[in-house]
């Protein structure tokens, strides 16, 4: 299979995943218990005709497949519907708030990769030394601390006691530090463990012995050769982790009162604003698929075996 064919195949499967996730998202919302119409109007004043009219107006009296295909066609035209709370169209709202979430996701992704890979590698090279113990403690904390708790802890230390950084808001880099740290720690925990294990596996490979027998310095052996091999399995985890980060923003944006799509969806859930929930979830699914597509393609550039496999 040529590289072009491979990329085409990956892109088409990504497209199938997006269609699949749209069906899934729509079905989940459709199957949710409770009548969306009844939740939109005050039942004490609503007459059965009003309910029926509204149902008709929203197209909710149609069978499932018609509702879905209408929704899907609208989505293709960029129309994600409108909020039932304030009638604002959903897409512009997502587009307006997405940059704040994107900034948070990217910074926490970068943080988790930098912390994760650095400590993962060091802890494998200096196995059972003090740096390994520190790295494993960071890993343990990252994995086991819930973000809302670590977020509050960070606010307490850096905003309340030390007064170095703002505790809330979504403008300026300073407001980004604590939320990304809190969110990034989770990913860092997973990456430390993953990188450490795969580094240890690689260090035991025969070719490492060859490299040492060639008289290369330990630095070259570890950072030029071992690390590059160890990163191949780690990249999968990093890709999945970015999806986790996206999901994590729902909690973090609430804790730090940031105006991102995580916050929007949290508010929409409280208000039972179905079109907004649907829109944000579907939008996130697309972002997730695209990120994993990029991760998949990046393999080819790191691992020559994937690049040139026929």
């Amino acid at each position: 299979m040529t590289l072009v064919n491979k990329v085409l195949l990956k892109i088409s499967t990504a497209f199938v995943s997006i269609i699949g996730s749209s069906i899934l998202v729509f079905s989940i919302i459709y199957l949710l218990p409770g009548d969306p119409v009844l939740s939109m109007i005050d039942p004490s004043v609503a007459t059965p005709e009003m309910v029926a009219n509204l149902r008709k107006e929203l197209g909710l009296n149609q069978p499932f497949y018609i509702q879905f295909s209408e929704y899907f066609m609208n989505v293709l035209q960029g129309d994600f519907g409108q909020s039932v709370v304030n009638s604002e169209p959903v897409l512009p709202k997502i587009v307006e708030h997405f940059p704040a979430t994107l900034a948070l996701t990217i910074t926490s992704a970068v943080l988790s990769v930098v912390i994760g890979v650095t400590f993962g590698v060091l802890s494998a090279i200096y196995r059972n030394k003090w740096i390994d113990i520190i790295a494993r403690i960071i890993g343990l904390f990252g994995i086991s601390m819930p973000t809302f708790w670590s977020g509050i802890l960070l606010i307490l230390i850096f905003s309340v006691y030390l007064n170095w950084l703002p505790s809330i808001g979504s403008d300026g880099w300073k407001t980004l530090v604590l939320p990304s740290l809190s969110l990034g720690l989770v990913g860092a925990g997973f990456i430390i463990r993953m990188v450490r294990n795969s580094m240890l596996d690689v260090i035991n490979e025969q070719f490492i012995v060859t490299l040492r027998a060639k008289g290369l310095s330990e630095r070259v052996v570890m950072y030029r050769h071992a690390l590059r091999n160890a990163l191949i399995p780690a990249i999968t985890i990093i890709g999945l982790n970015i999806g986790e980060l996206l999901a994590g923003t729902v909690v973090i944006e609430t804790v730090f009162s940031r105006q991102g799509i995580g916050r929007i969806v949290a508010d929409a859930i409280m208000a039972k604003d179905l079109p907004v929930i649907q829109g944000v979830v579907f939008f996130s699914a697309i972002v997730y698929v695209v990120i994993n597509l990029l991760v998949d393609l990046s393999y080819s550039f790191i691992d020559p075996r994937v690049r040139r496999a026929h």
Binding site: M1, N229, I232
Partner: protein, 676 residues
Amino acid sequence: MEKLLDIQHLKVDFTMKDGDLTAIKDVSLHINIGETVCIVGESGSGKSVTSKAIMRLIDYENGKISAGSIVLDGMDLAQLSQKKLRSICGKKVAMIFQEPMAAFDPVFTIGSQIIETILENKQFTKLQAKERALYLLNRVGISDPALRLNQYPNELSGGMLQRAMIAMALACGPDLLIADEPTTALDVTIQAQILKLLQEIKEEFGMSILLITHDMGVAAQMADRIIVMYAGRIVEYATVSQMFELPHHPYTRGLLQSITTIDSDRSKKLYSINGSIPGLADLPPGCQFHPRCPFATERCSMELPPLREVNDRYTACWYAEDLVESFDWKQPSGETKNDRHSIKEIVLSDSKRGSEPLFTIQQLSKFYPIGKKSPFSRNSSYLRAVENVTFTIEKGETFGLVGESGSGKSTLGRVLLQLEKPTSGKVFFQGQDLSKLDAKELREKRRNMQMIYQDPYGSVNPRWKVGDIIGEPLQVHDSLSAKDKHDRVQDLLEVVGLNKSSFNLYPHEFSGGQRQRIAIARAIALNPQFILADEAVSALDVSVQAQIVNLLQDLQRERDLTYLFIAHGLNIVRHVSDRIGVMYLGQMVEMAPSETLFLHPAHHYTKGLIDSIPIADPARTRERISLKGEIPSPANPPAGCRFHTRCPAATARCREEQPIFREIHTGHWVACHDPL
């Protein structure tokens, strides 16, 4: 002669969780300039540790040199810091390894890894280094070196990679090349090529070679002097001719007699050393070989014999002088002579056997689709693993199957047992077409067809007790009660030569040879008629290999078994097989009775294979016409006769017309236009 390397009283310890473990002790040896020294020994003998200790590669494996010295050029490598050692490693001393596939970093090109080594020697520029890499690749016989420079390790064959490995070792013009089992993972034809290359470059670059091997044939062919190691100590140290003419240590003698040679008497049982190599943690007191030694006395079990000079060589045996004088030293022990008699009878009874086919294979093919993984790629192609193979396996015989890796012999075996469905053709077992059976009938048939695998470590479940492993087929097919099963398993354990009390042990508590016995017990549990032994003895040490082969032959006699014996070790196949089929690129190119095939091979490929076998006798050097090149890809086999690209006698006809598999004498089939 001037000494290049001088090792004195070397002791290496490995730090384990519960204290130190001594891997080698009191090892003294030297290598002269321009000399090849071989260390031979079985697994656990300490030969690899010795080779790794020279460049202190053991430092990275929790090992340490706790006594002794390794002097090279007046420097004691045992005392140098790792930093100073770097000016020796790869420059004055270079090393090549057993698994060429695993010895290269998979994510860098061959070129960049060779150039990286050359650049360690500071006087080269990048451009010069690239030129030198090209020169070296060319020198070691790699075709199209400019292309290879930019290829990744997975794109080259094992033989090519070993050549590239040698090129990389030559990068800085070393004085000493350490080769740790450099040909063990390769086919016999490629082995012959690599050994020849090593000899050539040794002369050309004026190097000395320290060759680690378990193969006495390789040692006989390559070495000036041979060192035999056992359980971490040197037991004998002599020139190659001394060693093969009259070994002085009972272990060396046993090793030499365990070898199946190309002209050994097939009706004779293989000589084998009793027992197995002790683990380093529980070495016997006194002479470490005494529990396995037929000549051991009380003194041997109490006092460790030192390595001392006897008849111009060194040996570590109390009775060396007396033993070599004794009349039966050069003869195998008396026990074997009796066996010889009984096996003669079997050979006779063999010929009485009516030729009733157990397996009939008709025009069998197995293709694997490749390339059509994406709906966007247009053409699909096939890997022709087995193509149009027709033969029979007679009841009670051992049919041997040989050929280089990639010849399709394992695939053929798996298709016979219906572990894979054939693409076309038929397999009849006891006259029944196996492909016509439904799942239930096939399962019922399977009790008659069992398999023994190559890797005794991977083929048994490590979390199961031995008794349960052997008893599983009984449970599946016969649904025996727990007590009956237990009794049957104990009987089976005894049959394969294991202790009855092994029932409740786990596989890791056994050595490789013992595990293979477990696998055999499992295979014979249901009293099958047919056993496929796919490289069943290839992973075992020489002395253990002989034990297992003898066991298989005893079982065949007692239980009237039929074997399909697949192996790349030609001598072993010759010894066990009644008839042998030779495969090349998915086709059977020759089939004949064992003796006929080896004495009068008709196909040029068969002759090439036989000529590639190293002879364990330094006095007999034959003019080798070893095969050129490597086996082509079965995805794209050559037109005409598939062997024509490597055949010394290929004509224009061979390039165009595929030869028919025909009978040239009774029972001797060959697919060649101009057979030998």
